[in-house]
């Protein structure tokens, strides 16, 4: 969708990415940092999905009465794989945060910095 000469899809993606980055950099709580990372991931996935979009095309499933234009299915397959990767990273990160909390009793970065 294009508004005032700017592609709104891409604008939304950039805003979402920056929100995620801000959370990752500025928040002191490790869980919030991780959420920021997830928001950034979502932004990239959204970009990837829109890259496969074709105006006025059918879903890429061939039955009677579909076509001739089909949406590109490859980005969808890539995003699915990407989501699996993102879930794995999140799982590892959460496990680490649990261990950090068990050992230090806090998950705030500014408190962790002073500890050995």
């Amino acid at each position: 969708m294009v508004l005032f000469g700017v592609d709104v899809d891409y604008l939304a993606f950039v805003v979402l990415f920056c929100v995620g980055l801000y959370m990752l950099v500025r928040k002191s709580n490790l869980l919030k940092k991780l959420l920021g990372l997830n928001v950034m991931e979502t932004a990239v996935f959204a970009f990837l999905v829109t890259a496969g979009m074709i105006e006025g095309a059918d879903p890429p499933i061939r039955t009677a009465g579909t076509g001739p234009l089909f949406a590109n299915p490859i980005p969808h397959a890539m995003v699915l794989t990407g989501i699996v990767v993102a879930v794995s990273v999140t799982a590892v990160a959460l496990a680490l945060i649990v261990q950090i909390h068990a050992h230090y009793g806090t998950i705030e970065v500014d408190e962790l910095k002073g500890l050995p």
């Binding site: 940092k33 950034m40 990239v44 890539m78 990767v85 590892v92 068990a102 050992h103």
Partner: protein
């Protein structure tokens, strides 16, 4: 089913990945057997990779299209002179794994051994996949397999400090992975292809677009983070020093190199698609030179031997990146040979340091005074590794640093040549300090006096690696001759 060489290429990353899934089953019976199983798998992978390399020299590169779909639609694996990096990768793993058998007994709880060996195999499979694939999305996936297994390996020894170091590594590593995915998405949106050479050809045929430059820039930044080049190195020292020593050896010697392989891929992509790399090369040279000096300078102040080795990795990555940035034949050949040499030397040093830590329970230079007298063989190996990393002839580090230096002077970059010399000077200082404490100071700790040489499963790999540091140095010309055709192709594409 008949044997074909191209199928062997596909098996190379699949073998360790599939075996990783079997490790917990083997460990269910006997945790120790999992170590043996992992060793056999790494040995098989190494044998396959070496056989493929010998075939490569005789008959030329191999490509395989997974699932029979021809490129650019299918996924293409390529075993060329850069992909041959998988042979040393697997060989180093085959030396690190037996070292880990006994090392784990002292540092990792028994119930985590299965996880440790499975993660090591995943890491190897990812590293091999990364160096073979020409498909951009697969490049991202292989990188994530390597990264996620590395995060977990840092934390595998337990305790909260390791988890905190691993999380710092994870947060920065994930952002860089995300940049790679973003760049891949951008290139796909621009060209509709994922095959690296097909993407480059389509970019070359179309109008120059700022989006392509943005994609290459974010790829470059991402790989610079993975390689831990100086200002983006902050995650490295803690993660590499806190991890168990076999893991440190793998992370410092091999895993950081995915950043370098990635940068070479960026150079290929840019070269083939005709995007000018001037700013990029200048930046690489500058950061490389700063990294050489700063890494070595910071290493001088470390008391913890593993932390010292971790900073020395930052300095050595600087050498490699400087060599790549110079983009003249001497320097790039030197840089690519240094990828191998640094891996060899750093694995030697970390395993030797691991033996010392395992036998004495101490890890700072202050505590380890006089350890050269009680652990003569291990410390001799450490000394040989230290000489190699300083770059004294005739050890392994000499020829690659010499070529990077020659490249700097032949490109007329005299200042960078001097940075290289100053870096070597700092490196010399901190290794002299280490050798001085090991051999010429009186032992102050009981543990050092009572220490005995480690068991042969640990001592064997360390001595073999130290011997290799010397032998590779004597026959360094072979490595240069092996990599030169690949460098020629790379530079011809970049048009310089």
């Amino acid at each position: 089913m008949t044997f074909s060489w191209s199928q062997a290429v596909a098996w190379l990353p699949v073998l360790p990945l599939a075996a990783a899934a079997l490790v917990p089953i083997v460990a269910q019976r006997n945790a120790r057997a999992a170590g043996g199983f992992t060793f056999v798998v790494t040995l098989l992978t190494a044998a396959l990779a070496v056989a493929l390399t010998i075939r490569l020299v005789a008959e030329g590169p191999l490509t395989v299209h997974l699932g029979g779909w021809v490129a650019p639609y299918g996924i293409e694996l390529r075993f060329d002179r850069l992909g041959a990096w998988s042979a040393p990768l697997a060989t180093f793993f085959a030396l690190v794994v037996p070292f880990a058998w006994r090392y784990l007994e002292g540092s990792v709880p028994r119930e985590r051994w299965a996880a440790f060996y499975a993660l090591m195999l995943l890491n190897l499979g990812g590293l091999i996949g990364f160096s073979l694939t020409v498909d951009l999305f697969n490049l991202f996936l292989a990188m994530e397999v390597v990264s996620i297994s590395s995060y977990a390996l840092v934390a595998v020894a337990g305790r909260g400090t390791a988890a905190w170091a691993a999380l710092k590594y994870l947060l920065l590593g994930s952002v860089s992975s995300l940049l790679v995915l973003f760049a891949v998405a951008l290139l796909f949106a621009l060209t509709g292809s994922l095959n690296l050479f097909d993407v480059a050809a389509r970019l070359a045929a179309s109008e120059p677009s700022p989006a392509a430059t943005l994609a290459l820039a974010s790829l470059a930044v991402a790989f610079v983070v993975k390689a831990a080049l100086f200002p983006l190195h902050v995650w490295l020292p803690d993660a590499h020093a806190i991890a168990p020593s076999p893991v440190s050896a793998v992370l410092s010697g091999l895993v950081v190199k995915i950043g370098i392989v990635g940068l070479v891929r960026v150079m290929q992509l840019a070269g083939e698609s005709g995007i000018a790399l001037d700013v990029f090369s200048e930046l690489l040279m500058l950061l490389g030179a700063v990294a050489i000096v700063m890494g070595a300078f910071l290493a001088i102040f470390q008391d913890d031997i593993k932390l010292m080795l971790a900073y020395s990795t930052i300095s050595n990555i600087g050498y490699i990146v400087l060599g790549l940035g110079l983009a003249v034949p001497f320097a790039v050949s030197g840089a690519l040979v240094h990828v191998f040499n640094h891996a060899l030397i750093k694995v030697t040093l970390f395993l030797a340091a691991g033996s010392i830590i395992h036998q004495t329970g101490l890890r700072t230079l202050t505590d380890l005074r006089g350890v050269g007298r009680t652990l003569p063989q291990t410390c001799a190996a450490m000394t040989l590794g230290a000489m190699a990393i300083v770059g004294l002839p005739p050890t392994a580090g000499f020829i690659s640093k010499w070529y990077i230096g020659l490249g700097a002077f032949s490109a007329g970059r005299v200042a960078y040549g001097f940075a290289l010399v100053f870096g070597a000077l700092f490196v010399f200082i901190y290794y002299v300090r280490m050798l001085n404490t090991f051999y010429f100071q009186r032992a102050t700790r009981e543990e050092v006096v009572a220490a005995v040489e480690p068991p042969w499963s640990m001592r064997g790999p360390v001595i073999a690696l130290a011997a290799a540091c010397l032998i590779v140095g004597l026959f360094g010309g072979i490595l240069l001759a092996f990599i030169t055709p690949a460098v020629g192709e790379l530079l011809a594409a970049m048009g310089s």
